[in-house]
């Protein structure tokens, strides 16, 4: 018993020492200042189909597939953590070094740039208004006095607040609750990113009333400080993916009409 314990302790301390060495060693090599050396730790607010969702016990989606390619391009393992969008887009999760990079359909905005480092844009996004198929809401101008569901802290919320001032804005923690709320009739419409709303039109009960060109683009996010090398490395990988056609392949598998 004692021997086993001692052996266990030895093994543990050996592991600890080993990983320490490996850590400092490859940190010098890669210079990426990773949270956990050898792997690219990705934070994402899951589910948000088609960008990130779980399938057969694995996280997948547009963001996740791109991340997989970037990680393998950097010779790193991919580790995904499910976090809340609010903490992610405010920079708190990254500042606390919970992960190296955030891939969660984050729109690049000037405000967010104050607390985050963005990669090059990797996706052009539209906002949109989802309503029940039999609704008489045809555009954002019909929203006065209606309840509009938005996700807290998103550009959709900002757009709704600025462009539908007479609507009653109802905040939800994520798309899962928003979709349940419009199904339950708790809200009259949802204002959020187009691809996500498109996913909700598939069974025919809901329809996109209007799309809004907001010139928004998604970027991967990294900590404001100490991630210059990582940003450069991720951008390099993104360019490579666009050049070798891999990006288009992934894009088509999720957004081909």
């Amino acid at each position: 018993m004692l021997a086993a314990l001692a052996a266990g302790a030895l093994a543990l301390s050996a592991c600890g020492g080993g990983s320490d060495d490996a850590g400092s060693g490859s940190a010098e090599e890669s210079g990426l200042n990773l949270v956990s050396e050898g792997s690219l730790t990705v934070c994402s607010d899951i589910p948000y189909p088609p960008f990130e969702f779980e399938e057969n016990g694995e996280y997948t989606g547009f963001d996740m597939d791109i991340m997989k390619e970037i990680a393998s391009g950097l010779d790193l393992e991919l580790a995904v953590q499910d976090v809340e969008f609010n903490g992610l887009q405010s920079g708190a999760v990254l500042a606390a070094r919970q992960c190296d990079i955030g891939a969660s359909a984050v729109t690049i905005t000037e405000e967010r740039k104050a607390n985050l480092a963005f990669s090059d844009p990797y996706y052009d996004s539209l906002q949109s208004l989802l309503v029940p198929a039999d609704s008489d809401i045809a555009s954002i101008d019909d929203l006065a006095g209606k309840q509009v569901g938005v996700q807290q802290g998103t550009t959709g919320e900002t757009y709704a607040t600025e462009n539908a001032p007479e609507a009653e804005i109802v905040q939800f923690p994520s798309d899962a609750e928003m979709y349940a709320a419009i199904q339950a009739g708790n809200v009259d419409a949802l204002l959020q990113d187009l691809p996500v709303n498109l996913g909700h039109t598939e069974d025919g009960s809901f329809t996109i009333a209007e799309e809004f060109k907001t010139d928004e683009q998604y970027g991967f996010i990294m900590a404001k400080e100490g991630s210059d090398e990582l940003v450069a490395a991720v951008n390099e990988q993104l360019t490579a993916l666009r050049d070798n056609g891999k990006y288009q392949e992934i894009y088509d598998s999720y957004f081909a009409q």
Partner: protein
């Protein structure tokens, strides 16, 4: 070594360890970062006065509704559970076991989303109303058990004495047993109240309109717009400002009750 010397040495060593741990924490923490991320005075000031007039007010209103509702429903359930009529007892037992066993968050979700879908019926008061009904249901399950224990803790002689004075059983329950029971269960009821204050933070799952936000939703919102965690600290302080005087008040009440006995 004299025993007293040894004791003093051990005590001294313990103090030294304590001081060393405190010193280590103080030295290890990045205070400048903590101050700018969690204690930014400008950000804190920006959350006033709405954090008081909207968020804290809603937290208190929600708690009061959930607690009073839970108290009434809990009393009915407790009496049902003590009833000689078997189906009432089964019903109360089943209800208590069900809602005490489910996380409040799931019950709120069910009332905000599942009930409207299933019955085409929207609880009054919108999403906050649906969440509050769920909180009343959850808290009544706990409170029922507390009240039942209180009723059972009232000595049998009290009932016998009241009945021998010619009171009927309902009158005995209302005028003799229940006042004593509530006196006995003041501490656990306070506990339930404090838990409810914090459980109102779960209402966000139902979806919140701007004016309905309670402390937690409000501070999460501010965290987003200010990109700084200071609003969370302000909200934490507000919770303490609400709970600490409350528990002090109840402790005072309890001392008063003890003297009255």
């Amino acid at each position: 070594m004299k025993r007293s010397t040894r004791r003093r040495l051990i005590q001294g060593a313990l103090y030294a360890v304590f001081a060393a741990v405190v010193l280590l924490i103080v030295l290890a923490a990045d205070w400048a970062k903590i101050r700018s991320n969690f204690f930014d005075l400008d950000v804190a000031a920006a959350s006033f006065p709405e954090i008081v007039t909207i968020a804290a007010k809603n937290t208190i209103v929600y708690t009061a509704i959930a607690f009073l509702g839970g108290l009434l429903l809990g009393l009915v359930l407790a009496l049902m559970k003590l009833s000689p009529v078997l189906p009432y007892r089964w019903l109360a037992t089943g209800y208590i076991e069900l809602f005490r066993g489910l996380p409040a968050l799931l019950v709120i979700f069910a009332f905000a989303y599942a009930v409207p879908i299933a019955f085409q019926w929207h609880p009054p008061g919108g999403n906050a109303g649906a969440g509050l009904i769920a909180l009343i249901i959850v808290s009544s399950a706990y409170i029922a058990e507390t009240i039942r224990a209180g009723i059972e803790a009232v000595p049998k002689g009290q009932v016998e004495a009241a009945r021998s004075l010619g009171m009927n059983s309902a009158w005995t329950m209302v005028t003799v047993v229940l006042p004593q029971a509530f006196r006995i269960i003041t501490p656990p009821l306070t506990n339930e109240l404090v838990i409810l204050i914090k459980d109102t933070s779960l209402l966000f799952i139902a979806g919140m309109a701007i004016g309905d936000r309670e402390l937690t939703t409000f501070s999460r919102d501010a965290l987003t717009s200010q990109a700084n965690a200071t609003p969370l600290v302000v909200a934490a302080a507000m919770y303490l400002i609400i709970t600490l005087p409350l528990t002090q008040l109840v402790a005072k009440l309890e001392r008063h009750n003890k003297r009255g006995r």
